[in-house]
Amino acid sequence: MNKDWPLYEVFIRSKNGLSHKHVGSLHASDAAMALENARDVYTRRSEGVSIWVVKAVDILASDPGDSEFLFEPATDKIYRHPTFYDVPDEVKHM
């Protein structure tokens, strides 16, 4: 196999009500085969009720080198959190 089949990322919903979660990846000649193999490899013990497979090349991932510039601005915006605001003690639930 010197021409590796495309890599698919596999996402599984463990039960209705929960989101699909990334569980791993596999190579397959096409999406249909990826789905069949994902079933055999990742749901042998009823781990899921629904599977998504996505070609890995179609996923655009952020660069860890950009983490500071992408995610740090959020850490000093404490006013986005409820505890930033004072309300009178008499108000029990808010």
């Binding site: 096409d30 042998r44 991932a61």
Partner: protein
């Protein structure tokens, strides 16, 4: 400015904080190389590890045993896949990894170069070989490399049934007729020492250990894990009336563990270097399986190509 030194600082901060390194994070070259070597060897071992047990699937003594063995061997294929996938996140291709296995460039666990001559070997393998593997693998769930650690969590969840089904086989045989009990004892005699070798060379001569500990790939030394395995397994053997084939085995009150006899490292080296009883047979079986699957891979590729051609023709029509 990011310099190598500052990247390295950040890497070690992450490691020391018990956080994980993920595929796109910067990592030292040697860390990457060590992981590729270890994970790929581990993957190859899962794949080759199917062969000794595959040998008995058609001859299992009952339907229940056959189902269990089939499921176990299928699990091992899955373990191989999880591990190859983890290894590929470090920038090596699947074809490259398989090539290394097929050309003998990469190693796999030497335990799989021993023959499985009786049904009791299925018991001994599950109990001892999977048992030793679990002892090695549980700490790997906390390994510093994210994809490897996640793969190991999946693997460990599946392994415990492997060990239990093996021990159940041994228990049944040990409680059976004289011949069955003798068969179980014979399997234990043959698999005991190779199982202890699975933990690798003694700490005093182990070459890769120190850095692996620093990088939190490894958490415990070879000798520590081996000791734990002995301490766990000896009472299990006693419980079912089997004898560990080691005249020097003795409980040491002071260390609250067993002292045991020396391991024959010459035998270990011989098997690692290709001269075990089944090295050739295993490689031949692997190469044949790969070659026999070639037409299936070709057909699947052709099918995928034709389908995507006709889909794009429909779109442009």
């Amino acid at each position: 400015m990011t310099t190598i030194a500052s990247l390295e600082d950040k890497f070690y901060q992450t490691i020391d904080a018990e956080e994980k390194i993920e595929p796109k994070d910067w990592m030292p070259d040697d860390y990457r190389k060590t992981l590729v070597r270890q994970i790929s060897q581990h993957a190859h071992s899962e794949i080759i590890g199917m062969l000794p047990e595959g040998n008995w699937i058609t001859r299992a003594p009952s339907l229940k045993r056959k189902l269990a063995l089939l499921a176990k061997v299928q699990d091992e294929a899955g373990h191989g896949l999880y591990l190859y996938a983890a290894c590929e996140t470090l920038g090596v291709g699947r074809d490259e990894l398989l090539d290394q296995l097929h050309t003998g460039k990469a190693k796999y666990s030497s335990i799989f170069n021993y023959p499985t001559i009786t049904w009791a070997d299925m018991g001994a393998i599950g109990w001892l070989v999977d048992g030793a593997a679990i002892m090695n693998q549980v700490p790997l769930c906390r390994c510093s490399y994210g994809p490897y650690s996640r793969a190991m969590v999946r693997v460990c969840k599946e392994e415990s049934f492997h060990q239990r089904q093996g021990y159940e086989i041994m228990t049944t045989l040990a409680k059976g007729s004289e011949e069955q009990k003798a068969m179980a004892q014979d399997a234990l005699n043959r698999w005991w020492w190779p199982s202890l070798m699975m933990f690798g060379p003694n700490d005093s001569v182990s070459t890769h250990s120190e850095m692996s500990m620093r990088w939190k790939i490894k958490r415990f030394s070879n000798d520590e894990l081996r000791q734990r395995f002995v301490d766990m397994t000896v009472p299990q053997a006693e419980l079912i009336g089997l004898t560990i084939p080691d005249p020097l085995l003795k409980f040491n009150e002071e260390k609250k563990g067993y002292d045991f006899g020396p391991i024959d490292w010459d035998e270990f080296k011989m098997v690692v270097n290709g001269h075990g009883p089944c090295n050739e047979e295993r490689m031949a079986a692997r190469l044949k399986a790969h070659a026999d699957g070639e037409w299936v891979r070709e057909a699947a590729s052709a099918h995928a190509a034709r389908k995507s051609n006709s889909e794009s023709r429909l779109k442009t029509a």
